[in-house]
Symmetry: C2
Subunit: 555 residues, 2 copies
């Protein structure tokens, strides 16, 4: 590598649910010079398989892996062109992906869905993170693991998700044995795309740990696999385990084939894969102990580093090197945030609010937020639980549902909206407090994701959490995070922490707690906590019984 | 009295909140021949006093008594004309009124607000039932009565309302001493209008009992009055007590003055006054033990007779002869029913539902009901509490508020609407069960009021209550009930029961419980009950604390 870092560039590519985005970043200072988006041609296949038109069962969500290659073929050159840089000065590329988004491949990395005879087999395709049809398998994994006292279970808050690698692999075995037999590797798309770029299969430490139950340098035992299903015995050894790469490591050099797709120089550094949430931490300079990064969008993902291994109740996972090599990376989550607000706006807001928002030239969310926060906290008299999409942390219970309490005949729609915003802040406080009492204190809350634009929401979080809120300074957090990893893989920085310091962007303590508001929210949080424990910890299992009744009534 | 009953007629006049309605009814068979409505010129004065333009405080609601005379002058002759009957064949008139709606008058019945020097004094006017500014006085009445162990307190479910005679009289004393001194009688409008018609002041057994704490032929003691306020001592003896008239008795004969107003023959029977809810029982032929009449509108009032005196927890009152001479009349209530549905429609229904209702030529309520009941019970997975306007029976707690539980991202607006309908049915079941375990069993649920038109709602009540639902056969229940009392006062029938049998109208057991739906609703009611007791009986006083926080936050 040669030349002035200010003349050298890296590419970060963020593979999302519906599209991939490539971002060109200057190595020296993290300046974002150009980007391009490519939408997946097949999007999310959740009703029909594109190749055959065959109907998919409920809860399925597949993708076609060739759509990911299209992002390399289309978005990368377009971003380089938009940035106006000479491709010869691009020194590295890195990617991040949704997760857990695994696919079955054969020894050379070819997806099973691209093999003759398997094109019309749904199980041969990529199972997108939100494919939820492996719930029976996940239930069995959790029951068997709990019964056997598997030591890794508490590393995941006591709960292995149906979204992750083991449940989905077991689903393939039990529902399409030929696909299971045919595959040589069960690969995260995060690693498959790197394989496509550099010809090397390297499992990244992040997905291997958070999604693949890779803990203390080993997988679950064959005995455990056999207890799930005798034919599943040997799964990890035969189809999962492989070389692990640390985040920011060079996985290999760009192949001639991939150089032709992307227009980038052959041989440049290709970084080990990563996950969209976790890769954002260096982009937001949120790598130190005490800093919790919340990526707030339809849901919220919380990630943070700490120097010790602790089992925090209800977390999603703790993985050594899962966010930053040399640290223990923690993840927690709220399963519904922005999508609860969107649900409320779609289903509970009268037309006159939309008309007023239009007249004011505001979005409906901005309009409701302004109306709702025109009055001091506590005036609406409401408390809600943020469980409309279930609860991930800290209760880990998808069968929970929503609650709103305190309505009077003078309660207005925007007050209900605010109560839901507040409920998500209380949910985050529950997570922050649980981390704190478990020995992982949080001193700063850093926000990335689309919801950071809502200033009232950010101030609310500062007040409820009694923490300063910092906000990421990039609108492309994951892609910038990937670019940082590309720079490290290219050798431009000694490690991700150093690259983050030079290339990451954050506005520090933009929101600080207002003591008066915080006092009012403390009283409301006390109510939230009471309801949270009563309905979430066995005081009253009404939500579970109503869910059961609902299933029976539908059937 | 002479001639064939089929040629004789009676007039029932129903004085509501905004207008009075006169109905001409044939004595022999209850046929309704014509009616007319007159709207009160001053309506409800809740912001300004009409005479002076002076601003009224919050929670006030006054009326001008001359508006009631206008109903006699306008609606009665118009109804007779519309019926096409000869006024000479009208043999009696009876009235019913909102309650408790008292006013201060001097010895000859002249309202204090019509005296020189008092026209601009708000306390000189009629205090409409929904005047709620006497809450501090009511709180004191309840505290003092409970502390002294007043024996009558349990006749009112342990709770004297701010709407009733004592709280409002004490308010006059403490806020306008001159008005209090000037008045010779504190009279229910129900009795004042009869006084206007026949020149006789007779307190009707219904308001005296339910609103005036007249129990076991006596008022609260002077000691009790003194404990409330030394200057209040002697109130009952000096300003309240008077001859009590049984319902259906003749109070006197129509005066020449009132005959001129109404165009009716001088000297015809004028019946003792009555209350709009209670007077409906004979109109719906719901006079027997085991029959509960529910007048379902913005709120629901439940009335029923029983042959024994029992203290039912949380009832509004039990009064001997309060509904029918010779029986013990029980009253209970739900403080929010139709107005909760209206609140939800105004504040939580998206515009597309209104557009679809318009396109289908349906009311929004009909449209939502059809949508919501297109799926079987239990599918929506929701439970609500019907406390958006507080709870009257059986918790007697105005500080309670609403709750909805069970929302998911697929919950639709019409499902929330149905959950509220169901919540009111569960609230009625709570009342029916409380009566039952107290020794006042309910075997039939008879419905009057505007909501009986909603067939899905009626079937829901049948299923939830596991009782046959009968519906009144008249759209003018109170006025028909008054006409029945007029016929008795005129001597056309020996008593109200006999007149009800001949003139009342009911469709029996129109709705019967569906066993399958009832089983599902049983499971939902079990959830309602748990929440009811947890939030209503001290398990979690969140609603009270949030209300307190709200008051502080507003202040």
């Amino acid at each position: 590598m040669s030349g002035n870092p200010s003349d050298r560039y890296v590419i970060g590519v963020d593979f999302g649910t519906l599209s991939g985005r490539a971002l060109v970043v200057r190595v020296g200072d993290g300046e974002e010079l150009g980007s391009a988006v490519h939408e997946y041609r097949h999007g999310v296949m959740d009703r029909h398989l594109a190749s055959s038109g065959g109907k998919l069962p409920p809860d399925w969500a597949l993708q076609d892996p060739d759509d990911y290659r299209d992002v390399l073929r289309c978005a990368v050159p377009a971003a380089v062109a938009a940035a106006g840089v000479d491709p010869a000065n691009v020194v590295g590329i890195a990617t991040d992906f949704t997760a857990s988004t695994p696919l079955p491949v054969v020894a050379d990395g070819t997806p099973v869905c691209e093999l003759e005879g398997f094109r019309d087999r749904p199980h041969a395709y990529v199972k997108l993170w939100k494919h939820h049809a492996a719930q029976p398998q996940a239930d069995r994994i959790n029951a068997v693991a709990a019964e056997r006292g598997e030591p890794w279970l508490q590393r995941y808050g006591g709960f292995i998700s149906s979204e992750w690698e083991y449940a989905k692999a077991l689903e393939v075995l039990e529902e399409d044995h030929e696909v299971y037999e045919r595959m040589d590797h069960w690969v995260e798309a995060a690693d498959w795309i790197v394989w496509q770029l550099c010809g090397e299969y390297v499992r990244n430490a992040c997905t291997a740990g958070y999604k693949g139950i890779w803990q203390d340098a080993s997988s679950p035992t064959s005995d455990f696999e056999e207890a799930l299903n005798p034919e599943f015995a040997g799964f990890a050894k035969s189809k999962l385990e492989h070389r692990i790469g640390a985040l920011g490591d060079r996985a290999g050099g760009l192949t001639a084939h991939a150089a032709a797709w992307t227009g980038l120089p052959e041989g440049i550094a290709v970084a080990v894969g990563n996950v969209d949430a976790h890769v954002t931490a260096p982009a937001a300079r949120a790598l130190e102990a005490g800093q919790m990064l919340a990526i707030m969008g339809t849901s919220t993902c919380h990630v943070m580093n700490h120097d010790q291994l602790v089992e925090v109740p209800g977390m999603c996972g703790v993985v050594e090197g899962g966010i930053l090599a040399g640290s223990f990376g923690y993840e927690a989550g709220q399963s519904g945030v922005g999508d609860i607000f969107a649900w409320y706006v779609d289903n509970q807001i009268p037309g006159r609010y939309f008309a007023a928002a239009d007249a004011a030239g505001e979005s409906i969310h901005d309009h409701l937020t302004e109306l709702a926060f025109a009055e001091p906290p506590g005036v609406h008299g409401l408390i809600a639980l943020d469980w409309v999409n279930g609860n991930r942390s800290v209760l880990v219970d998808a069968s929970l549902s929503g609650l709103v309490l305190g309505q009077t005949l003078s309660t207005r729609a925007e007050q209900g909206y605010r109560a839901l915003l507040e409920a998500t802040a209380f949910g985050s406080r529950m997570i922050v407090e649980t981390f704190g009492v478990s020995g992982v204190p949080v001193r700063e809350f850093v926000v990335a994701g689309g919801l950071l634009k809502n200033r009232h929401l950010m101030q609310l979080y500062a007040d409820v959490l009694r923490l300063p809120i910092s906000t990421i300074g990039s609108e492309q957090g994951p892609a910038l995070g990937s670019a940082i990893h590309a720079a490290v893989a290219a050798g431009a920085y000694p490690d991700v922490r150093a690259a983050s310091g030079a290339m990451g962007r954050v506005e520090q303590a933009v929101y600080r707690p207002d003591p008066h508001a915080a006092n009012v929210y403390d009283r409301m949080y006390a109510e939230y906590r009471l309801l949270h424990d009563y309905f979430g910890r066995g005081g009253n299992d009404a939500m579970k019984r109503l869910r059961q009744l609902r299933l029976e009534a539908i059937a």
